[in-house]
């Protein structure tokens, strides 16, 4: 009878496609919107994720997330180094400064200063040049996407200073110079970084050079990157650093979550995406539920006939469930597949897209719920079905 149930489901092309369309659309919408949401959120902590060598990020106690850093005194570094089980700790400078391009335009850039001695905390992947090139005079490393886009210049400009119509875009290349707070900087390398939330260009340089770029301030050390000794739990160690140094130590993962939660709490992103996901769910329930219900309704006379001919209610329920399950599974697969395809298409563009395993799981649950809800109505119909209806024309 399972086979008959399946044949009944796929037999009616219009209804079958209708059900699949609804579930596919719901799965697609839920998966895709959630993925964009997660992608966007993961961009907020992209910097922390990119800098994966240190286990522990130490900041001023008032710092809430990675994009708003209150600098510390430079002696804080020695305090952290003095904590037992800290294998090493290096300073890092990170701030948004104003960069001036060769054509005179300004751009806000994220300047990251790496510890001079070790250059720890560098970009995840070099495209051109080498991290060691930072030791060259005035050397900086640009992220390659910004070098091609935001920091690029055009071959010609019109009277208003906008790029002329047929102007070619000339990406920044190794050897080009720019000015950061009126200090000269020479591009010595290009790197690949995960795009940040605000998509600002990222410029890596050494710590002392970053300080020379930075406006004079009382305190200048933005971050301390620390590594736990082998076999030491970073979480416990970061708690200990927090307790003993009157600084705020977070593991990389905690720092990522801090940042995500800050954005969740303080921006409209979760609400906007939550609405989109909910809408996808509702649309899915509406379309899939409606078509599935119609499908069951249309088949009710056959179910009645089956019931009359000796089919038990339980058998009929199993058939309905099987149909819902099958439609749900196929629609779900198509939906997440389309969403994944969308994500692959979107890879390497400004669009944030990241599918973690949670997302297919959540949309699977949502699709299951949609199927359960829509089949529940049908099942109630089947349970209440009097076989006698078969004799009523």
């Amino acid at each position: 009878m399972n086979r008959i149930a399946i044949k009944m489901l796929v037999g009616d092309v219009a209804k079958y496609f209708g059900i699949l369309l609804g579930i596919t659309f719901a799965a697609l919408l839920i998966t895709q919107q959630s993925s964009i949401f997660v992608g966007l959120m993961s961009r907020t902590y992209a910097f922390v994720a990119d800098t994966s060598l240190p286990d522990i990020w130490v900041t001023d106690p008032e710092v809430k997330y990675i994009d708003e850093l209150e600098p510390m005194q430079s002696t804080a570094l020695d305090r952290v180094r003095g904590v037992p089980d800290v294998q090493w700790a290096v300073p890092m400078y990170k701030a948004v400064l104003r960069g001036r391009l060769q054509n005179g335009t300004f751009r806000s850039v994220i300047v990251v200063g790496l510890d001079d001695a070790t250059l720890i905390g560098g970009p995840p992947k070099m495209v051109e040049g080498d991290l060691g090139d930072l030791r060259r005079a005035d050397g900086v490393i640009l992220d390659v996407v910004s070098a091609r886009t935001r920091l690029a210049r055009y071959s010609a400009y019109d009277a208003q200073g906008n790029p002329a119509k047929d102007a070619e875009r000339i990406p920044m290349a190794v050897g080009d110079t720019l000015q950061i707070n009126d200090r000269r900087a020479v591009v010595v390398g290009l790197c690949e970084v995960t795009r940040t939330f605000q998509s600002q260009p990222v410029i890596y340089t050494t710590y002392t050079r970053a300080l020379s770029f930075a406006p004079p301030e009382r305190k200048q050390m933005s971050l301390i990157l620390a590594k736990a000794a082998d076999g030491v739990d970073p979480t416990a160690l970061s708690d200990r650093i927090t307790a003993t140094t009157s600084l705020r130590a977070r593991t990389a993962e905690q720092m990522q979550w801090d940042t995500i939660l800050y954005y969740l709490k303080n921006t409209g992103i979760p609400i906007n995406f939550g609405i989109a996901v909910l809408l996808g769910f509702l649309v899915g329930v509406a379309i899939a539920g409606q078509t599935f219900y119609n499908f069951t309704l249309d088949n009710l006379r056959y179910f009645g006939a089956l019931k009359a001919m000796g089919g038990s209610t339980w058998l009929l329920l199993r058939m309905v469930l099987l149909q819902a399950l099958l439609a749900g599974a196929i629609g779900y697969g198509l939906g997440v597949g389309l969403a994944a395809l969308f994500g692959i298409q979107a890879g390497g563009t400004e669009l944030a897209f990241r599918m973690t395993w949670h997302i297919p799981a959540i949309s699977a649950a949502a699709v299951a719920l949609i199927c359960a809800l829509s089949s529940l109505v049908s099942m109630i119909k089947v349970i209440r079905l009097e076989p006698a209806v078969v004799f009523r024309g």
Partner: protein, 364 residues
């Protein structure tokens, strides 16, 4: 159509799920940790105070200034050369003073000559005529006495007129006076220079000599010499440049004794209570964690000072105080230069936040 419905769609669906799984897998890939060029030093002590130290000469780095401003005429020792105490390190142009010295020396010579002249009086040439004059006067006296004696010896007052006798007696008196005058003149000349004149001349010589000494002292001040044995660490002027003097001027030459080096470690005020100065300490060269050497405690600077930034920024303001601890470092043990920053770890008994310190209210 049945194939589409029964096989193609489920196949597509399976494909979609695999695609999603692949997407998930790919998205989960963590970026590989980017290593730095080197790893930082690993602390050698489980419980320690960490500090930033700067390498300096055991005499500290002494900035030698010039006493008098002027153009640099000579720098006989290059940067890095070892010098011994008293070696000339820098010569300021001294041409005008040398000219002055010549004048002063001439003055002195002149005064000395004058004194010598006075000391050398009487001139022999002056004495001879005077002695001759005395002799002449004496001869004349003898002559006149003889004439008188002749007159008196006659005994005949008539033989000799009274007048003649008086005349002869006068002639003796005149001759006596003339002799006395000549003798007095000879005596005056024979005595030589007058004592006050001599005193004046001597004073003049002294004054001239003092003048020479003064210029010579000034000339001395145009030379910078090594106050101790050491190494020339820095030379901030070049021959021909104007070397400024004064409290705010940049030292012309930095000199230090580097036979043993010192490491001046800044201990954060938060960590001072944990510091045991005599505890084992180790310095690590930045950029190569394998290079490290033990430190020997020298002294603690008793006065805590505001932290001086080592970041190179000139407008640094900080509100942290640091305790400076001096350690000695064998310069052969580490390839370090004076002025280099090193990471210093000092073993401590207490971890930060340890509670085994005497706390208030703890019953004994």
């Amino acid at each position: 159509m049945m194939i589409v419905r029964l096989i193609l769609l489920p196949a597509l669906s399976l494909g979609g799920i695999s695609l999603a799984a692949w997407s998930v897998h790919k998205g989960d890939e963590q970026p590989k940790p980017t290593p730095g060029l080197t790893t930082p030093a690993v602390p050698p002590f489980p419980s320690r105070v960490s500090a930033t130290g700067v390498v300096e000469a055991s005499t500290r780095n002494v900035g030698l200034g010039v006493a008098r401003p002027g153009l640099v005429a000579a720098l006989p020792h290059d940067i890095g050369s070892d010098v011994t105490k008293g070696d000339l390190l820098l010569q300021i142009d001294d041409r005008d003073l040398r000219a002055q010295l010549a004048i002063r020396k001439a003055d002195l010579a002149s005064a000395e000559q004058e004194l010598a002249r006075l000391v050398a009086l009487p001139r022999a040439e002056d004495l001879a005529p005077l002695a001759a004059a005395v002799a002449q006067r004496r001869a004349q006296l003898t002559d006149s006495q003889n004439l008188l004696r002749l007159a008196t010896a006659v005994g005949d007052p008539r033989a000799i007129s009274r007048e003649e006798l008086t005349r002869r007696e006068s002639a003796v008196a005149v001759a006596q006076a003339t002799l006395a005058a000549a003798e007095a003149e000879l005596e005056r000349v024979e005595v030589g220079a007058w004592a006050p004149d001599l005193a004046i001349a001597r004073a003049r010589v002294d004054a001239a000599r003092a003048g020479v000494a003064s210029v010579e002292a000034e000339l001395q001040q145009l030379q910078v010499t090594a106050p101790f044995d050491g190494k020339v660490l820095q030379v901030n002027v070049r021959v021909g440049e104007y070397a400024a003097a004064g409290p705010s001027a940049e030292p012309a030459i930095v000199l230090g004794a580097v036979r043993t080096l010192h490491v001046r470690a800044d201990i954060d005020e938060m960590d001072v209570w944990r510091l045991r100065p005599e505890a084992p300490a180790r310095a690590f060269v930045r950029g190569n964690p394998k290079l490290s050497a033990p430190l020997r405690f020298v002294a603690v600077e008793p006065l805590m000072i505001p932290k001086r930034s080592l970041s190179g920024s000139s407008r640094e303001q900080v509100d942290t105080r640091v305790l400076q601890v001096l350690y000695a470092l064998d310069p052969t043990a580490l390839p370090v230069q004076v002025g280099q920053l090193v990471d210093v770890f000092v073993e401590s008994l207490n971890a930060p936040g340890a509670t085994d310190t005497p706390a208030e209210g703890t019953p004994k």
